[in-house]
Symmetry: C2
Subunit: 378 residues, 2 copies
Amino acid sequence: MKKMRRKAKQLISVQDVEDIAVGGAVLGTGGGGDPYVGKLMAQRAIEEFGSPEMIALRDVPDDKYVMLSAGIGAPTVLIEKILRGDEAVTVFKALEKHLGKKAFAVMSAEVGGVNGTIPIAVAARLKIPVLDADCMGRAFPEVQLVIPHLYGVPATPLIIADEKGNSVVLNTINNEWTEAIARAVSSKMGGMAMMALYTMDGKTVKRATLPGMLSFTRRIGQTLRLARKEKRDVLSQLLKVTKGIRLFKGKIVDLDRRTDKGHVKGEVTIQGSDDFGGQTLNMKFQNENLIARTADRVLATVPDLITVLDQDTAYPITTEGLKYGLRVTVIGIRCHAKWRTKAGIALAGPHHFGYDIPYHPLGSNGSARRGHGSSARN
Amino acid sequence: MKKMRRKAKQLISVQDVEDIAVGGAVLGTGGGGDPYVGKLMAQRAIEEFGSPEMIALRDVPDDKYVMLSAGIGAPTVLIEKILRGDEAVTVFKALEKHLGKKAFAVMSAEVGGVNGTIPIAVAARLKIPVLDADCMGRAFPEVQLVIPHLYGVPATPLIIADEKGNSVVLNTINNEWTEAIARAVSSKMGGMAMMALYTMDGKTVKRATLPGMLSFTRRIGQTLRLARKEKRDVLSQLLKVTKGIRLFKGKIVDLDRRTDKGHVKGEVTIQGSDDFGGQTLNMKFQNENLIARTADRVLATVPDLITVLDQDTAYPITTEGLKYGLRVTVIGIRCHAKWRTKAGIALAGPHHFGYDIPYHPLGSNGSARRGHGSSARN
């Protein structure tokens, strides 16, 4: 058994990082930060230190520890501020030192967006494995919006540091306080900072996180790349690999987007075309896309994934990349079953983001037209 | 020699705390927080744990450590939030643990205001001495506005904690960053929090702080109390003990006061009476009183001390206690010589607070009328 696993040892290549970044943009549902920056960080680290190994959750001994490496703050700032990846390593090592524990592996908080690739850079530089798992299966804008929170795992001790050399250790009474304080600190640090957090032992991490998420993200990126290369229908391939549902197709006719306390908030109106002719889609977002609805129906809500694609390429568009006149396809992807629990919905459903509508499970009835997934044509 | 010092062992009594609080209100120059709260904390601690010893700077061995205990945030919030004093002890012990060093004594950041008495509570509870010294000789609203900063002493490692159980350890590249981050954290913690900071060894603390400040503060309070009791002229006694100067006398005719980012900012206009008849005083404040000037003359500026007294009692009035119609006397007290250096003025002079006027040393020429100090009559 051990031999078999060794045989299947998986190394993360520069190409893998490329695919993970694209897959991360799909699962980022419009937010999660520009995967380009995390991609650069990870690719440079691999070129310099070699490919890190990706291991499965089951490969973590129960008494060993894993820690998360993640950025916090306004994604746009990241591009100008953090390019080298040293900061992520420094803060990660600081948490190890603070706890007096070595990390057996590094793990991603969210595969959606930049936080999917940053841990790969840390893994390469520290020569430790990166876990094939994450804590969301998507992107979310707050420290406590993760599956481990549902299992009572504290984010602290959490260390947050900037590129200048300032660092802060948080110990809090709950993860909501961690979010509030870490957000204020990252804002003061210039809008973006690196964190190490959510230390879990092997036993906990197997229970309280989502297995296979890094390889799934890579598979999405691979699928898009190969479909494009082989001139196959990219959208239908994407829907197939994500078990996604085409929700809408049309042209952006109105856009209201503003930056509020480090979050990109707003809504977009899409006028339907083809089989959606005569309909209008309204979509709310706060970094990530939150709610998609027509005049008479809710098509999808968080924590399910809502992703906007360019109609021509079927590649994902971030909320910051939305533009008047752009022709888009909107797809929905079911969130992980752990999000669909009562506690999961209470934590990260529409109410959390201030919307007074109930969670509407994607594909649960005619309104989300389950059939679209397989019959969709771009 | 040792015997002599032992003979002169000074214990801080409940009455001493009362006097230190009143003296702290004089040196608080309108800010520094309500001494009443710190007084209660210290008096309760003394009643429960006994009087702490006050020791001189020279009694700290060069290789032992002292640490500062202080509150940070909007003074008004303190009253509702922190009454027990446990938080100050908890955060102080957390810093000892973090550094792996025991504190030989606890010290005040500023004798002006609430931070003059909080260290007495900590000293009583931990059964360690409180130092007869401080880092300002007055009150100031920012972490880096202290004499140790002029000597290159870092405020970090700094621990900041709230009454709920949240705590944060800061390590920064300079004291300005410490101020920015600690301020943001205290604001997020609900406007007020306790800190332990500025760890110094005996050698450093003797060089970089102000000796005798706690007993001086007590002497001011004693003087006011006895003058009142003995029905002597309180103002002239106060001016005598502080070597102060009467700057102005009159009635408050205009007041603009607002809360901005946790600071109480504004200005007050005082119409002169008696020998100041026909003149008008304008005074700017930001927590503390910053600048006092008439139409044609600057009477005093930070870092010199400007204190507003009630005309009837000659007791100090905080910037929050200023009221339309109140009859007041404004006095000036020279700041410590270490503030009057080029570096001291650059750090805490009018420019730092956004005023484009030079520092005007109190009593340096006719404009501040040096003679007033001794000839003043209420």
